[in-house]
């Protein structure tokens, strides 16, 4: 049973980072803005034309926006959610906060941050890869790791030094 009163909320939480591993925050927010501009709802073909992106490139962005709870997809129609409206009215810092709450709940993200917290020291890239390979397979572990770093940095929960390849936790500035 869903425990949220909002029917707009995603039906299931974002289980892993795969759908958001190949897209940027800017693209997802840009999609939300584009749908809002045509009235909050449009079919995929219209949006594809509007933003001059073919379905191959737009597909992963739509998937990511759906899994983050920003867009509902039904029979090829895209509709923005209450969460999207909140983001549209938020400033740059508030947008980060909203997305932080979502990312922080992603199980695999939580698993890695918990691991770093328990270790009480920075984790090496190899250690993190080792921990997630069991769940996602070797061939996807790299993508996952990159997504962890990208989204973790964006929401200001992860600090990563690409020189020493050490990942640690950080406190958000706001």
């Amino acid at each position: 049973m869903p425990n949220s009163p909002h029917t707009d909320e995603p039906s299931k939480p974002l289980a892993d980072m795969h759908p958001i591993s190949k897209v940027s925050v800017g693209q997802i927010l840009g999609l939300v803005e584009a749908i809002d501009e045509v009235g909050g709802s449009a079919d995929v073909a219209t949006i594809s034309q509007e933003v001059e992106m073919d379905i191959d490139r737009l597909g992963p962005i739509i998937d990511a926006a759906e899994l983050l709870g920003f867009v509902k997809v039904e029979e090829g129609d895209l509709t923005i959610t209450d969460l999207s409206r909140k983001v549209l009215h938020a400033n740059i810092r508030e947008r980060k906060k909203i997305i932080r709450e979502i990312i922080d709940d992603v199980p695999i993200f939580r698993q890695v941050t918990d691991m770093a917290r328990k270790a009480g020291r920075p984790l090496s890239r190899e250690e993190v890869l080792g921990a997630i390979t069991g769940q996602v397979g070797t061939h996807q572990a790299e993508d996952f790791f990159n997504a962890l770093v990208y989204w973790g940095r964006y929401v200001e929960l992860v600090h990563y030094d690409s020189e020493s390849e050490q990942l640690s936790l950080r406190a958000p500035s706001t």
Partner: protein, 253 residues
């Protein structure tokens, strides 16, 4: 009426190149002012000299005749009160985000502690907090341009010049960045006093600008300066918006 001197005065500026004794005119008799709180877009077909005009304003090039005054004096290169954002981002790949943003302050001998805190402040303002120690190769295109913007703003410029800042980005990233730039523009705590942006996208100009300078094909002349009085936030699907796009389009083509 106001007697306050404009921030920037472009007076009958023309630019020609000479090759084998032949003259190639790029810009012809350009005159306009930039005042406090102006967001101006210069639009025109490719090759109309709009980027050359911007180079002259930031002091990287000089008009063959006429003059360009910034705060009443002829423009000069490396004036920290004018910042530039480039289409190609122009970041140093071997420097981190923080180091790229700090660089201009370092060149002006700002003490380390002060420049670090200023740089962090602007990195946060453009939404890049968390990426301070990332290298450009670790960033998406939109984020690279945010670094370019933070680097320009950290100098506390009076005038921010932008040369096609969104044209290397995909349409979604560009849309998001345009909106967030407008957010920054309406924040009184954040410089600059005025923005002058070159773009080939009429849509983008009508979305962003209070005034649009429409230029003819080469040699670039000002066809018209339009005041865009559409209320904000602007919606590109509104008929009034289309009306403006059509109007500017008909001036240029």
């Amino acid at each position: 009426m106001t007697d306050v001197r404009p921030i920037l005065e472009v007076r009958h500026a023309s630019r020609s190149y000479f090759e084998n004794g032949k003259e190639f005119r790029v810009l012809e008799d350009i005159s306009f002012d930039v005042r406090e709180r102006d967001f101006i877009c210069v639009v025109g077909p490719s090759g109309c000299g709009k980027s050359t005009l911007l180079r002259e304003i930031v002091g990287l090039d000089r008009p063959t005749s006429g003059e360009i005054l910034f705060e009443g004096r002829p423009v000069r290169a490396e004036n920290p009160r004018i910042s530039m954002v480039f289409q190609s981002f122009a970041l140093f790949p071997w420097l981190t985000v923080l180091e790229n943003v700090e660089l201009g302050l370092e060149a002006h001998k700002v003490p380390e502690e002060e420049r670090r805190s200023k740089a962090k402040n602007y990195i946060d303002a453009v939404g890049l907090a968390g990426f301070e120690n990332a290298y450009p190769r670790e960033l998406s295109g939109g984020m690279k341009q945010r670094v370019g913007i933070a680097r320009a703003l950290v100098m506390d410029p009076v005038l921010l010049c932008m040369d096609e800042p969104f044209s290397a980005l995909d349409a979604l990233t560009a849309q998001n960045l345009r909106d967030e730039i407008l957010q920054l523009w309406t924040n009184p705590e954040i410089p600059p006093s005025a923005v002058l942006m070159v773009t080939h996208s009429i849509d983008e100009a009508v979305y962003l600008a209070d005034r649009i300078i429409a230029m003819s094909p080469r040699p670039g002349r000002i066809v018209k300066i339009e005041v865009v009085d559409l209320p904000r936030p602007r919606n590109r699907k509104e008929p009034e918006f289309y009306g403006w796009v059509d109007e500017i389009y008909s001036l240029i083509v």
